[in-house]
């Protein structure tokens, strides 16, 4: 109720919003944390609170509950939710152009392709959810039955290596940061990126249809601040500041570690080129939807025109805090 009043067009008061991160206060959420800490939101007359989440379901439901206004999740989740459940989402920016997920295995028993996983145990972070779907898509692409890959929940990717050593799994899903951590601890890891098998649009910002249609200019400003945050993060000259901002949320992370992880995530932001920062690639969304339909993950197709807004990035770039 309150929010609606303060966000009414023409209101001079600061507009209050909440952004919920994809997962915790990880370095991967740097653009949003920076957007707040560097004052990009406030410069645009916004007061956006950045709060953490435990993962995709919480992020998705928070926005629908209106306890939060914006968040970001894997595009797969948005497509599935919209197509299957008719969820009123609008996706409007893609900070991460390339999925952070990697298929990892022990270097001495490397798994080089998804096809090798047929009939084997694969360690996953959590069951269901986007990685599960991605594995299915990859299996299909490589021509094996997705169900033949037995998925075992092992928690963190770093813990998964332990199970691989015991031969209980042959590979696991992890991030680059986890790979580095394992290698630093003396466990060489072989890996390939999910994106090299099936390229899908990765993390996407989203909000509700209602917010988008009623407060389009707010959404644009929010995206503008995110964009500024992203640019800030990409500039290595700002690293000291960036890390300081991150540590305002995640006091526990050591600066060196933050630096390491920052260096690992930056390429994901710029994967499609520095000029295409944040760009929404509708074609890839459509492609994704096709394969999801083919796989039976979704029962019918959604009209992506209403869901995926690729024009906002340009507008946001123009705003510049």
């Amino acid at each position: 109720g309150e929010d609606d009043k303060s966000s009414a067009p023409g209101s001079a008061a600061t507009v209050k919003r909440t952004y919920q991160t994809a997962l915790g206060y990880n370095v991967g959420n740097a653009p949003e944390m920076v957007a707040r800490e560097a004052g990009f939101f406030s410069k645009l007359g916004l007061d956006v609170n950045v709060i953490s989440s435990t993962g995709t379901p919480q992020a998705l439901q928070g926005v629908l509950a209106k306890t939060t206004h914006y968040s970001r999740v894997q595009s797969i989740s948005i497509v599935t939710a919209v197509a299957n459940e008719n969820a009123p989402y609008v996706a409007f920016g893609t900070p991460v152009q390339r999925s952070a997920f990697e298929m990892q295995s022990l270097a001495d028993k490397p798994i080089k392709s998804v096809a090798e996983l047929a009939g084997k145990n694969l360690g996953v972070i959590s069951a269901g959810g986007t990685t599960d779907v991605l594995i299915t898509l990859m299996a299909r692409k490589e021509g094996i039955d997705p169900a033949s890959i037995k998925r075992k929940v092992v928690g963190l990717g770093v813990a998964a290596a332990e199970f691989a050593k015991r031969g209980e799994i042959v590979a696991w899903v992890g991030s680059a940061a986890e790979r580095k951590a394992l290698e630093a601890a003396g466990t060489p890891v072989s890996s390939f990126a999910f994106d090299d098998v099936v390229a899908v649009p990765a993390d996407t910002y989203f909000t509700t249809k209602e917010e988008f249609s009623a407060n389009r200019e707010v959404v644009v400003k929010v995206l503008a601040a995110f964009y500024a945050g992203l640019e800030f993060v990409l500039d290595t000259a700002n690293d000291k500041k960036t890390i300081e901002y991150i540590r305002n949320y995640n006091r526990e992370i050591k600066p060196e570690e933050a630096q390491r992880q920052l260096d690992l995530v930056r390429p994901l932001y710029t994967a499609t080129g520095k000029d295409k920062l944040m760009t929404v690639d509708k074609a890839r969304w459509a492609e994704l939807q096709e394969s999801l339909l083919a796989e039976g993950v979704i029962k019918q197709k959604a009209n992506l025109d209403d869901v995926v807004i690729d024009s906002l990035v340009a507008e946001a770039k123009a705003v510049k805090p």
Binding site: T56, P57, L60, Q61, L64, A65, K66, S77, T80, A81, N84, E85, A87, S126, A127, G128, G129, R151, K152, V153, V154, G155, L156, A159, E162, F163, E168
Partner: protein, 272 residues
């Protein structure tokens, strides 16, 4: 002989068993509906009762859910509870009888309880495997504590007169345990069991949440991931009903095991 007013009230009380739950369900239904109508809360957060009812109907009539998910959770819960009873009664007895053991063991037992199991999930899997083992372990760990606490409390509450009777007839430890302490403590254990069955269920379900391929927790997590919130709420109702049945069984046990106990006698009599 009794004035009619009382008979009436008693008849109502008796029939209550049949209509109270449906009545409250109807009431809840109305409140739920009204809440949604008034607040306009998104169905993705709190679906309407009709939708949940539809989902539930679908779930209840799906044999797969019974044979795979409910059955998995059921076996995990019972195994977990069984282990919890053995551990809980044993530890409760040791701790209740010996201040020394209480001093030595309690800090570590309490420590196992206050640590969030989520953080330890990999260890659980490492030690108990991907299968039902880790869920059973979780169910057992979270549910033995109330059994232990109540067992210790019961054994320490053993009336002095009965304890001394044991001494005076020259009963040895085992006789005391089996014929005096345990029967006396049974009422306390059963009260602990009421809490434990609920915790064991939660433990098994959370274990499935953290990993696994079947069980009600796994099923609910899937639904949550898929944003099938009406089905999710259906599954929550299912879990509630499931837990309720187990709980009911535990409560009913009282009537068979401790008919002599005051807490059962008051329930069987018309209270004056």
């Amino acid at each position: 002989m009794k004035p009619p007013g009382r008979n009436w009230r008693r008849a109502i009380d008796r029939s209550l068993v049949w209509w109270s739950t449906p009545l409250v369900l109807v009431l809840l239904y109305l409140i739920w509906k009204a809440y949604i109508a008034i607040t306009g809360v998104s169905p993705f957060v709190l679906p309407g009762p009709a939708a949940v009812f539809e989902a539930l109907k679908e779930q209840v009539t799906d044999p797969y859910i019974w044979k795979v998910h409910v059955w998995a959770t059921f076996t995990e819960t019972l195994w977990g509870l069984g282990i919890a009873i053995v551990i809980g009664v044993t530890l409760g007895f040791l701790i209740g009888k010996s201040r020394v053991l209480a001093r030595v063991l309690k800090p570590f037992i309490v420590a196992t309880q206050v640590t969030p199991k989520v953080a330890l999930a990999p260890l659980f899997v490492l030690w108990f495997g991907f299968g039902p083992g880790s869920k059973i372990a979780l169910a057992a760990i979270v549910s033995f504590f109330p059994i232990m606490t109540n067992t210790a409390f019961g054994i320490q509450s053993l009336p002095r007169s009965l304890r001394e009777m044991g001494t005076s007839v020259g009963a040895r430890t085992w006789y005391r345990f089996g014929r005096i302490e345990l029967p006396y403590t049974l009422a306390y254990i059963l009260a602990g069991l009421e809490v434990a069955i609920v915790l064991a269920t939660i433990g098994a379900i959370v274990g499935e949440y953290l990993g696994g391929d079947k069980g009600l927790g796994r099923y609910a997590l899937n639904l949550q991931n898929n944003l099938q919130i009406d089905m999710l709420f259906g599954s929550i109702v299912l879990m509630a009903a499931y837990g309720l049945v187990l709980y009911g069984i535990v409560v009913a046990l009282k009537y068979f095991l401790i008919p002599w106990h005051e807490s059962v006698r008051v329930l069987r009599e018309d209270q004056i």
